[in-house]
Subunit: 234 residues, 2 copies
DNA sequence: ATGTTGACTATGTCCGACAATTTCGGGAGG
DNA sequence: CCTCCCGAAATTGTCGGACATAGTCAACAT
């Protein structure tokens, strides 16, 4: 059960086409995008499909649609957009950018979790940490358990927004990163840090937990940079 | 030009109905939602409309759709969801939650902006701050300029993800907060802090800028809490 | 007991049509 | 020549139906 799934192929095609248009015509915030019917005819797709693809951009705050007026860019996504699947080019900056945003969110999340988690949540975090360690030492694929572990931390903040936003960033990361490289089990070096992290949260030590989360993210960032570097060499 | 627009009424109707179903049936992560055709028939809407409404949830990572299997919840949004428009009830927690997530993002954004902004971006931030002060002292509506000012800071990070995610949070804030209360010009007290914030960013002083942003967010949170409290009294 | 097939379900996509709204140009009047 | 008003065009919002594609599950045959 992969919790993070990429968009369908046809809708990805729409986004890729829009990206190319935005790039080739240097469209910025406030500029108007092609009409849905034009885009649909140009790509040989149905208008409903094009609408749904653009709808996801609207939900992310990238574009705004106005009845009768058209669809306009709400933010600058120049230099190749990143939150969406790039099928061919892999940019090192895209990885760094998702991590740069995840960083303050994850750190604040563990801080809040350490302060506000109730007994049941602390117990669940500790249990998942033990399960994660067992799977890790058995040499199996630990990513699913790792995902559940961090999801438990996000739930312990009592604020579902943390989990939702970080989920979005993970999906972007997945689309950009894991697709071309298969299943790299990124952040191998960060796993031993999970045990003290869980213990700090259970103990209610917010600052130690924040420190450990910072170090975990540093490890992930370093691993991502290394793989990206290898790719650039090839 | 309001940069933040709520979803259409029909699609809001779909989300409200789904929220009520999730709440009344206590659905959590992994549970299955009603099929699109059922939902469409029950609400008297077209299936395409229902699909688009759910699509925005999919883009936000709230649900995942599997061909043939159905649509399932990806995260827990129990206790009334927050990132989406509640038409009647206004929950104090919803406001606090969006602010709790905005906080680390905005603080990190000004920190990065202070470090990495180029000359043109620093000039634009300073210019917008002066314009904001002028509009404010003239007693006019300063929210549009304020939005452009903060957008310039997000752009100066060189990472469009900051702007996109914060835009989403602002839209949630708008849907939940501004709709019932009209146009409250929230955070009045925080405006004088914008001048030193802009100067710190222009000067490249990341920590001072982060400190000032923290104080601005504290002011906004206090104002939101006060208004919410007044509402609860009534 | 087990493996396979087939019906059923649900999402993905397409088409055509009309409604609602904004935009823009052209014509009447000053 | 300029201004104001109106109507046509453009564009998104919604609807209904249809078929394709893929997962689910139970009945069936081995």
């Amino acid at each position: 059960m992969d919790p993070i799934a990429p968009a369908s192929h046809k809708q990805r095609q729409v986004m890729d086409a829009l990206l190319e248009i935005i790039d080739s015509e240097s469209l910025g915030a406030g500029d108007r995008l092609p009409a849905e019917v034009d885009l649909a005819r140009r790509l040989g797709l149905g208008r409903g499909t094009v609408r749904e693809a653009i709808k996801s951009w609207e939900a992310m705050g990238i574009v705004t649609r106005n009845k009768g007026a058209g669809t306009v860019l709400a933010t600058d996504i120049s230099g190749h957009a990143l939150q969406l699947p790039l099928s061919v080019t892999l940019e090192a900056q895209s990885l760094a950018r998702t991590l740069a945003v995840r960083r303050p969110l994850e750190i604040e999340a563990v801080r809040i979790a350490a302060r506000h988690a109730d007994e049941r949540q602390r117990h669940e975090i500790r249990g998942l940490m033990l399960e994660l360690m067992a799977v890790y030492e058995a040499g199996e694929d630990w990513r699913a358990v790792d995902h559940r572990f961090h999801a438990a931390i996000h739930a312990a903040t009592g604020n579902p927004l943390f989990g939702q936003l970080i989920n979005q960033l993970l999906r972007a990361f997945h689309d950009i990163y894991e697709a071309p490289f298969g299943q790299p089990q990124l952040g191998h070096a960060s796993l031993p840090l999970h045990r003290p992290l869980a213990e700090a949260i259970v103990a209610g030590d917010a600052e130690t937990a924040a420190d450990l989360m910072t170090r975990i993210l540093d490890e992930v960032a370093a691993a991502a940079a290394a793989v990206t570097f290898r790719e650039e060499q090839a």
